[in-house]
Symmetry: D2
Subunit: 366 residues, 4 copies
C-alpha cells in the first residue's frame, strides 16, 4: 500500500520511455535503409548490461557482508542465496547467446562497419565484475600491445583500478577462511590425521595396481600417475611446498585458507559446516558460469566473423577461448577436489567436537 | 568500417548511461533503507520490456511481408527465420522466471506496498504483441469489471484499438493460406481423395476394435470415441458444418484456409510446401511459447503472493492460469493434427503435379 | 581403486548391451518399413523411465530420513541437496519435451496404430512418484469411468496401494513440522504477536485506500479485496476456522504444521531456521516442476493429436491440462505466501531466543 | 489401431523391466553399504548412451540420403529436420551435466575406486558418432601413448575403422557441395564478380582508416590487421593458395566445395538456396553443440577430480578442454563467415538466373 496518495503506474515506475528510447540504429542515422538486425544487436547488449548491473548489485552486497572482522553467521545463508541468484542470471546470459546466433554473419555485415571500432571489450560493467571477483590486470591474458583498461573511458579506468585495489570477493573469502576456528578443535589436530589417511590410501592404491591383472607396462603407467598426483597432497601437507607453488603462480589461495577449505569440504555434513560448504560451492558455480559464458561468447564470435585477425594481432575467437579458462578466479577451490579422500578414510571427529559442530538448540531442550 | 571519422565507443553506441540510470527504487525514495530485491524487480521487468520491443520489431516485419496481395516467395524463409528468433527470445523470457523466483515472497513484501496499484497488466508492449498476434478484446478472459485497455494510459489504449483493427498475424496468415494455389491442381481434386481416405481409415479402425480381444464394454467405449472423433473430419469435409462451428466460436480459421493448411501439413515433404510448412510450424511454436510464458508467470505469482484475491475479484493466479490457454491464438492450427491421416493412406499426387511442386532448377539443366 | 583384480570396462559396468537392445520397433515387427520416428518415441520414453527411477531413489531416501521420531539435524541439509538434484532432473524432463516436439503428428501417425491401446497413463514409476509425494486416488482428477490403477498391471496396482497407505513425503513433512520446537520459545508466544501485527497491517492498508486519490468505486473494490484476503489470516489465527477448511478439502496441512511453516518462513534468516526454510522451498520447487512437466506434456499432446477425444470421454489434452494443477501436492506451502507480513511488521525475537536460534560454536570460544 | 488382436501395454512396449534391471551398483556388489550416488552415476550415463543411439539413428539416415550421386531435393528438408532433432538432443546432453554436478567429489569418492579403470573414453557409441561426423584418428588429440581405439573392445575397434573408411557426413557434404550446379550459371561467373567486390571493399576500408581521427600508431595496427585478413580471401580467389593450405592441414574442405558453400551463404535468400543454407547451418550448429558438450564435460571433470593427472600423463581436464576445439569437424564452414561480404557489395544476379533459382510454380500459373 503506497504511503502517499499517488497512483503508481507500471509504465512510469519502470521508466519504460527512457528504456525504450535508447535504441539508436547507426545504420539508420547513416541515412540508409535501417539494417533489420541492428535492433537485435543493440537490445541484446542492453539486456546484458542490465543484468551486469544486477550482478554488481549482488556481488557488492556479498563483499560488504564478508569484508568485516567477524562475518555475521546469518549472512552466510543470505550471501549464498544471492550468489544463487547470480548463477541463475548467468544461465540467462548463456542462453541469450542462442538468440544472438539467429543473426547470421551476413546480417551482421549490414551494419558492422558503422560500429567500428566499438567492441565488447569496452564494457565497463563487465570489467567491474571481473575486478570484484578478484581478477587483476596481472592475471589477464593480454590482447594486443596495450593493457585492457586503455579500452575504457578514462574515468572508468580509474574506477577499475580502485576496485582492483579494494578487497575482492576472492580476498574476502580468503580472509574469512583463514579466520575459521575449525582447524584446531581442542586436542584434535586435523592435519595430522588427514596426512596419515592420505598416506594409507596411496599405499593401498599402489598395492592394488601391483596385484592386478594389468600388464607391466600398464602397471608402470598407473604407478607413475599415482606418484604424479601425490604431489598435490604435499601442497597441503607441507607448508613450504605450498609457498613455492604460490610464488610460482600455480596457487593463489593462502596455505591457511586452503586448509580451512579442505576441512569444510571433508566435513561438510556437519550442520555448522553445511552453510560454509554451500557458500564455497556457489563461488565455484558462479566462477564456472562466467567461464562458460566467455566460452559461448568465443564460439559465437567464431560463427559471426570466423577467425578474422583483430587489432590484438590474433583472432578474436582464439583470444576469447584462451581467456575463458585463464580468467577463472577460484581455480584453487576446484583443486580442493584433488585433495579429498573418501569419507571412510576420514579421521573420525571426536564426539565432543561433533557436538560442538551441531546446533545448540534441540527439541529436548524445549 | 565507419563512413566518417568519428570513433564509436561501445558505451555511447549502446546508450549505457541512459539505460543504467533508469532504475529508481521506490523503497529508497521513501527515505527508508532501500529494499535489496527491488533492484532485481525493476531490472527483470526492464529486460522483459526490451525483449518485447524486439519481438514487436520482428512481428511487424513479418506482418508487413504477408500483408500484401502476393507474398514474395523468398520472404517465407525470411519470415520463418524471424519467428525462430522470436521463439528463442521466448525461451529466454521463460527461463528468466527462474531468476525472479530467487526473490522470495518475504523479500517482495519489503517494497511491494510502494508499487500499489501498478501491475504487469499495464504493460503496453505486451498488449501490442497480443493484438499483433490476433488476440482481440472479445477473445479475452475478463478480469474484474472493466475491460483490459482501461489499465493503459489513454493514448496507448487508442493505439491498441488501431492494432486490433489492422490486419494481425492471424489474419495475414489466413489470407495467405486462402490464396495458395495448391487446392486444385489440374484435375486433381484433393478433397475428394482425402474424404475417401478418411472414410476407409475409420472403417478399418472400427473393424480392428470389433475383432480385438477387448471385452464388450471396452469395445463400446472405443467405438464411441471413434465416432466422437470423426466429427472433426466433417468440419473439413462439409463446408456448412465448418460454418456452424465458426459461428459458435469453436473455430476461427476460415474453411478455405483450413483446407490449405491441411494440404500443406499432409504434403509438407514436397520442396515447394516445405517452406510454408515450416512457417506454420513456427507460428504454432511461438503461440505455444506465449502460453508457456503465461503459465510460468501464473506459477510464479502463486509462489509470490499465494491465492490472494486481486482487484478482479478472483486470485491473480487463477486468472492468469485460465488466461494462459484462453489467449492462445492459433488453436486451429493445432487442430489440424486431428485431421491428419497416415502418409500411407494419403492419395498419391499425380506425377505431373509432383514435378510442378518440385524445383525447376536441377543439375541436369546445367 | 578396485578391490579385486578384475578390469572394469565402461561398456560392461553400464550394461550397455542390455540397455541398447531394448528398442524394439513395432512398425518393424509388423513387417513393414520401420517408421523412422518410432526409435525416438521409444528412446525418449526409456530415458524418462530411467530418470523416474532416479527420482524414486532420491525421494525414498528422503522419506526414510524424515519418517522417524526425531529427524537427524544433519539430514536436513542432505535431504535438501537430494531434492535439488530431483529439481535438476525435472528441468531435464521438461527440456526433453522439445526433442519429442521435433516429431510431427504426421510422423507419429506412421506407427501410432501399432501402439494401441498403450498409453503414458500406464507408467508405473510415475504413479509411484505421485504416491510417494502424497497424491492419493481421492485427489486425482478422474479420466474415464475407471480409477487410474486399473491401467496398471495388477501386481503394480497393489504396490501403489501400499505406497498410498505408507507415509508419503507430504505426511513426513507434516509430522516433522508439527514436532518443531519453535512455536513456544520460553515466554515468547509467536501467534499472539503475529495476530496483532496482522491486524495493525490491515488497519493501515484500509486507511491508505481511504485517503488515496482513487474514485469511490475503485476504493470500494480495493476495500472488498482487502476483506476477502483477511479471511486467509483467520485460517491461522483461528484453529476452528482452519478445521472447517480442512474438512471441506480447501486445506490439507494440519493447523500445527501450518503454523510451524509460517514461523519458518518469517524467521528464515535465523541460522537454525535457514536449513528448514531451504528444505520447504525445495519441496515447493519440486512440486511446481512436476506441474510444469504435466503442463508441457499436455501442450505436446495438443500438438501431436489435437483435441481428439480419448477413451476417457474428453480430449487427452484437456484432461492433462486440468490435472496439472489439480495434482499439485504441496499447495498449502504456496499459501503460506499469502500469510506473510513484512519483516518490518514482524514481532522482534527476544534476544535470548535469538541466541538460542544461532549456532553455539563461535570463533570467540576457540 | 493394432493390426492384430494383442493388447499392447506401455510397460511391455518399452521393455521397462529390461531397462530398469540394468543398474548394478558395484559399491553394493562389494558387500558394503551401497553408495547412494552411484545410482545417479549409472543412470545418467545410460541416458547418455540411449541418446547417442538416437543420434546415430539420425546421422546414419542423413548419410544414407546424401551418399548418392544425386541427392533427392526433398531430402534436404528432411535431413535438416533430423539434424535439428540432433541439436535438441544435444541441448539435453548439455543440460544434463547440471544433474551430474549435484554429485560432489566427496560423493564420487564413495564408489570411484570400484570403477577403475573404466572410463568415459570407452564409449563405443560416442566414438561411432565422431567417426560418422568425419573425425579420424589422425585429427585426434592423442591422450597417452596408445591410440584411442585401444580403449575399445577389439570388435568395436574394427567397426570404428570401417566407419572411418566409409563416407562420413563431412565427405558426403563435400561431395554434394562439389556437385551443386550453381557456380556457373549461364554466362554469370560468380567468382569473377566476387573477386572484384572483395578488392573494392578492402580498398575502401583502407581509405576509411587513413582519413580517420586515429593516431598513426593505431592506423598502422588497423592496416596490418586488414592485410592479415585479406589472406583469407586469397584462399578462395586463388586455387593454388587453397591447395597449399589444404596440404598443411589448415583447411580440409576442397576448393570447389568451399566456393559452393560461399555462394550458398551469400545468396541464401534465393528460395532454391534457402534449403541448402539451412542444412549447412544445422551442420555448424550440431558441430558447435558437440564442442560445447565436450567443454562442459571438461568443466565437470575439473569439479569432480580437479587437475589430477590421468593415465595419459596430463590432467583429464586439460586434455578434454583442448580436445573440445581440436575435435571440431566443420571448422571450414565457420571460416566461410570470414569470406562474406555485405549484401550491398554483392554482385547482383542476372534476372534470368534469379528466375531459375526461384520456384517454378507460382500462383499466376494456376
Amino acid at each position: 500500500m503506497a504511503e502517499n496518495d499517488r497512483k503508481m503506474h507500471y509504465h512510469d515506475y519502470l521508466h519504460i520511455d527512457q528504456i525504450l528510447s535508447a535504441q539508436v540504429l547507426e545504420s539508420e542515422k547513416a541515412g540508409r535503409k535501417p539494417a533489420h538486425e541492428e535492433m537485435l544487436f543493440i537490445i541484446i547488449h542492453q539486456t546484458y548490461e542490465l543484468w551486469f548491473k544486477q550482478i554488481i548489485h549482488e556481488l557488492s552486497s556479498v563483499v560488504r557482508m564478508f569484508n568485516v572482522k567477524e562475518v555475521d553467521e546469518r549472512n552466510i545463508g543470505v550471501a549464498t542465496g544471492r550468489l544463487r541468484r547470480v548463477i541463475e542470471i548467468q544461465e540467462v546470459l548463456v542462453s541469450q547467446v542462442r538468440v544472438l546466433e539467429t543473426m547470421t554473419s551476413l546480417d551482421f555485415l549490414e551494419f558492422r562497419s558503422y560500429l567500428f571500432p566499438a567492441s565488447g571489450f569496452q564494457s565497463f560493467q563487465f570489467r567491474q565484475i571481473e575486478a570484484m571477483m578478484g581478477l587483476e590486470e596481472e592475471h589477464r591474458l593480454r590482447y594486443g600491445p596495450k593493457p585492457y583498461h586503455t579500452q575504457l573511458h578514462s574515468d572508468q579506468a580509474g574506477e577499475i583500478q580502485d576496485l582492483e585495489d579494494a578487497d575482492s570477493l576472492f580476498e574476502c573469502m580468503e580472509n574469512w577462511l583463514e579466520r575459521t576456528p575449525f582447524l584446531h578443535l581442542g586436542d584434535f589436530e586435523f592435519l595430522k590425521y588427514y596426512k596419515q589417511a592420505v598416506e594409507d590410501m596411496i599405499a593401498q592404491e599402489k598395492k592394488f595396481i601391483q596385484v592386478s591383472t594389468m600388464d607391466q607396462d600398464e602397471k608402470d603407467r598407473h604407478i607413475a600417475m599415482l606418484e604424479a598426483n601425490s604431489g598435490y597432497y604435499e601442497m597441503v601437507l607441507d607448508e613450504s611446498k605450498h609457498a613455492e607453488m604460490q610464488a610460482s603462480g600455480q596457487v593463489r589461495l593462502s596455505y591457511k585458507a586452503s586448509m580451512a577449505a579442505l576441512l569444510i569440504h571433508l566435513y561438510r555434513d556437519e550442520p555448522i559446516l553445511h552453510g560454509p560448504f554451500n557458500f564455497l560451492s556457489c563461488l565455484k558455480d558462479m566462477d564456472e558460469m562466467f567461464t562458460t559464458w566467455r566460452y559461448r561468447h568465443a564460439q559465437m564470435v567464431l560463427r559471426m566473423i570466423g577467425r578474422k585477425v583483430g587489432t590484438g594481432g590474433s583472432s578474436g575467437h582464439d583470444y576469447l577461448r584462451n581467456a575463458a579458462s585463464q580468467h577463472q578466479v577460484f581455480k584453487d577451490l576446484y583443486n580442493i577436489s584433488t585433495l579429498l579422500i573418501p569419507r571412510s578414510s576420514l579421521p573420525p571427529l571426536p564426539t565432543e567436537i561433533k557436538q560442538q559442530l551441531g546446533f545448540y538448540f534441540t527439541s529436548t531442550d524445549v
